[in-house]
Symmetry: C2
Subunit: 207 residues, 2 copies
Amino acid sequence: MRIAELSRRSGVPVPTIKYYLREGLLPAGELTSPNQARYADAHLHRLRLVRAMVELGGLSIAAVREVLGALDDPEKSLHKAMGTISAAVAPADLGGEDEVAHEQVEAFLRRQGWVCRPTSYAYKALVGVLATAREVGHERFADLLDGYADAARPLAEADLGYVLGAGSEDEALEAVVVGTVLGDAAMAAVRALARRELSGTRQPNDP
Amino acid sequence: MRIAELSRRSGVPVPTIKYYLREGLLPAGELTSPNQARYADAHLHRLRLVRAMVELGGLSIAAVREVLGALDDPEKSLHKAMGTISAAVAPADLGGEDEVAHEQVEAFLRRQGWVCRPTSYAYKALVGVLATAREVGHERFADLLDGYADAARPLAEADLGYVLGAGSEDEALEAVVVGTVLGDAAMAAVRALARRELSGTRQPNDP
């Protein structure tokens, strides 16, 4: 297909597609003349994946490039890809120097029996969240973490099951991307629905 | 304090603070001369809250303005503020016209016994996620939703408990903001930790 059809079918404007091509997020099409290229279904699929990461996951171009690198890596492994992808979707490091937040995360990990290096992105992301909570005067936010862990265990099982349920290794890796980016967005939406349901029940006179 | 101290203590650069002042996200300081203003601890607190929403929550300036409007609304109610805040943190509507995704959300709500108008942001956010999943060839992603609901119920209870545990009504409203913005980021981080733990256990030979 031509770039115009690629744009129509993906919902991504032509200038944005050209930008992705320049940035290497999308492989070049097959040149049919010096100024025209033809794109395959694989391009459409990759473009939709990029769009999901950018628009739903809020990933930067650099983060998308990292995730695609993990997908295209011939030496790829599921565990490693999960790490790369989780790192790419994590918010910027905000609380590197907050000692109390570090101790809160360490204590939480000990209580859960989880092992995690302080250099890993998930550790740093959690320190960032707790440091921010402390900054805005919500030190007690850290008390919620064990409840989060209880909720997260079955979700992580489902995440892994989803990935292992994929047909091929390539599909499994893509399922990691989809599960992480869409999974976090879906969890936020479902949690808001549950909260809405509950708060409507508890405060029936509220609009 | 002067704007330089406000910047130092909040970690927000002076030009950004001036931008927030122009955009009305931060109330003006008390003028001490035509070119100098003095800021109070309340400014520092509000500035840290804005920073948390922008940097951790990834909220746009318009979304932050909406949330602050809910916090400052004299007619405010917890339930209404929760809706405003959840709407502000939701990703852009991506799947408005996907009929199958709509039906998947309807079926999910029926199974859970939840009531939610299709115009509500959480409903639309979920349709957007499922539409995107379908676009990238992951229709089976919708099968995960009931597991998400099981995880979300106790989280929503904890969210509401956190809000009701606040000292004053103003603090409760702020706890809604903190709980939503930090809560989603914390859940994503804890879930990644749980996934890491599990995938490391299942694939011991992986790096």
